[in-house]
């Protein structure tokens, strides 16, 4: 069942220049796609390719200039349903600092449910469950600025989970983290997806994208490639044209194939590569 559906969506940023004229730049140029309920989709593309703009169209932070975005069948341009859309699609942003509202971890996690008028006793339950889901219960009384980047990002995720959304859009959540933090955040994303939450991950890290069910490649406001990680990373040359790369095991497998070693086309992970090589 499709949960998010874009239909010929375009988005223009409007800006007034010094002379008072309105200039518009087209950040998204007529894209159509759909995302299945419960799936894990990665969106990759270079800086300025429109990924973030697309993400913000998924929970009505931005409304399409033309075309439509549907969330669970709801047209996001229908302003009477704005809060229904945002309750269904939560969002986690890149900068771990700039999305935490409260100076106490658990109060921050409660912020979303409080906004949608959830009963106090239930908020308590949701907050506790969300924090234990990201393994941060021990930190619930701490001040966010004392936590590491990865921990802050997990708090932001808990804040999204406490809204009980059906889908979470992660807008480069690992870009500012160290490798340990990145790993922790990615584990949490996979765990949430395993629990049935639709996960949409925007990332610059190819090895993260490789863990998704489906990848969308964006460039210059358009979706240029779409498919499973195996299908996408087989096309290294095309990716290169979009300033992207392939994960290391894929690159090594293709270097080995060039040297005459026969390997299956769909190697994606180190585990599979090692297995194939020692056969």
């Amino acid at each position: 069942m499709e949960f998010i559906k874009a239909d010929k969506l375009t988005f223009e940023y409007k800006k007034t220049n010094d002379a008072g004229q309105e200039i518009s730049t087209e950040a998204i140029k007529g894209v159509s796609f759909s995302i299945e309920k419960g799936s894990f989709v990665a969106i990759i593309g270079q800086n300025g390719s429109g990924k973030s703009t697309l993400a913000k169209n998924m929970n009505a932070l931005l409304i399409p200039t033309t075309g439509k975005m549907y969330v669970d069948g709801i047209d996001t341009s229908d302003l009477t349903r704005l809060w229904d859309v945002r309750q269904r699609v939560a969002m986690v942003f890149q900068n771990p600092d700039n999305q935490i509202v409260s100076a106490i971890v658990e109060d921050d996690v409660a912020f979303g449910p409080e906004n949608i008028g959830v009963d106090p006793a239930e908020i308590r339950q949701r907050v506790d469950a969300a924090l234990s889901g990201v393994e941060m219960s021990d930190y619930r009384k701490k001040a966010p600025h004392l936590l590491s980047g990865g921990q802050k990002q997990k708090i932001a995720i808990a804040g999204a989970v406490a809204m009980e959304p059906e889908c979470i859009v992660f807008d480069e959540p690992t870009a500012m983290l160290d490798p340990a933090g990145r790993q922790e955040v990615l584990n949490v994303i996979r765990k949430l997806n395993a629990r049935g939450i639709t996960a949409i991950l925007i990332t610059h890290f190819m090895e993260e994208a490789a863990q998704a069910d489906q990848i969308l490649v964006m460039d210059n406001g358009e979706i240029k490639m779409e498919g499973s990680p195996k299908e996408i990373f087989r096309r290294a040359d095309e990716l290169k044209a979009f300033c992207l790369d392939v994960p290391a095991p894929v690159a090594l497998a293709s270097a080995l194939r060039e040297k005459g070693i026969e390997l299956p086309e769909d190697i994606l992970t180190t585990e599979v590569l090692v297995e194939e090589l020692i056969k």
Binding site: N47, M176, D178, A180, H204, P249, A251, L252, E258
Partner: protein, 281 residues
């Protein structure tokens, strides 16, 4: 040439939460050497960097750059900054001037150079970071794209013409192509002249590929100091410090454990392909 001897630093001394940030760190980096520093977050890397250009003073120990003791209280900070340039993480957030040229000129101006010298250095360093000087000099730095801003910020440090250039995670938050471009820029700058370049990074692939020598920091101590091959051969120790191997070394290590006869420590995908091909044929 930079010589670090027995450097120790303590944060919040005399307070209950005092902690040793650096403990007896000693190493030297020669002219023209490309040194990588790796370590888990909180291992003391950034404390070390801030000592290397005099932003922090050590509790004990000395740092001597080309004969100048920068830990000596009598040493003028301007002299230190002439010798050691430090590019912080996300350096684009420190841009402040109206135009790119003025911003890049900030450092040289602070060094008290003549106007001609400043103009010349600004032009050279903007060109050195791969930007078109004439097209960009009068633009506001805030109109530029993220990648361009970062280049301008790096140019601002290069314009001070330091003997030792230190970069803290210069590729953070960039897509693969932009990441590679910045790295090429850094190796390009290293290639010209006889500068010591020190690169701090979490990306083991980059460190393995471009550094002559790698320093590993762990809990405020210098845990390892050797060539990339020597350092990345010590897999167990690195992993116990929460550090990973470069991808190529990781894959070949797993193959070795699975019984494949690969002796060489592979640092790049090309090397790994070479070695595996040898064994498989």
């Amino acid at each position: 040439m930079i010589e670090v001897k027995n450097l120790t630093h303590i944060y919040s001394e005399d307070l209950p939460h005092q902690q040793k940030a650096l403990e007896d760190v000693s190493f030297t980096a020669g002219d023209g050497e490309f040194v990588g520093i790796i370590g888990h977050t909180g291992s003391g890397k950034s404390t070390l960097l801030q000592h290397l250009n005099g932003l922090l003073k050590p509790k004990t120990g000395t740092i001597i750059v080309d004969g100048l003791d920068i830990t000596d209280k009598k040493t003028s900070m301007i002299e230190v900054r002439k010798k050691v340039g430090l590019v912080f993480q996300y350096p684009e957030y420190q841009l402040f001037e109206e135009t790119v040229a003025k911003d890049v000129a900030f450092g040289p101006k602070n060094l008290g150079l003549s106007q001609e010298e400043i103009d010349e250095r600004v032009r050279q360093s903007i060109t050195a970071v791969g930007l078109d000087y004439d097209a960009i000099k009068n633009m506001s730095p805030f109109e530029l794209s993220g990648g361009q801003k970062r280049r301008v910020a790096i140019a601002g440090v290069i314009a001070m013409n330091p003997d030792v250039l230190i970069l803290d995670e210069p590729t953070a938050g960039l897509n693969p192509k932009a990441h590679q471009d910045i790295l090429n820029l850094v190796t390009g700058i290293h290639g010209q002249g006889n500068r010591t370049v020190i690169l701090v990074s979490h990306n083991m692939n980059d460190i393995a590929r471009i550094c002559d020598r790698v320093l590993v920091m762990d809990k405020g101590r210098l845990a390892m100091n050797g060539t990339p091959k020597e350092v990345f051969a010590r897999e167990e120790e690195l992993k116990s410090m929460g550090l990973a191997l470069p991808d190529a070394a990781e894959i070949t290590s797993r193959l070795r454990k699975a019984g494949m006869n690969i002796n060489e420590i592979c640092l790049t995908i090309e090397e790994a392909a070479e070695e595996i091909a040898k064994v498989r044929k």
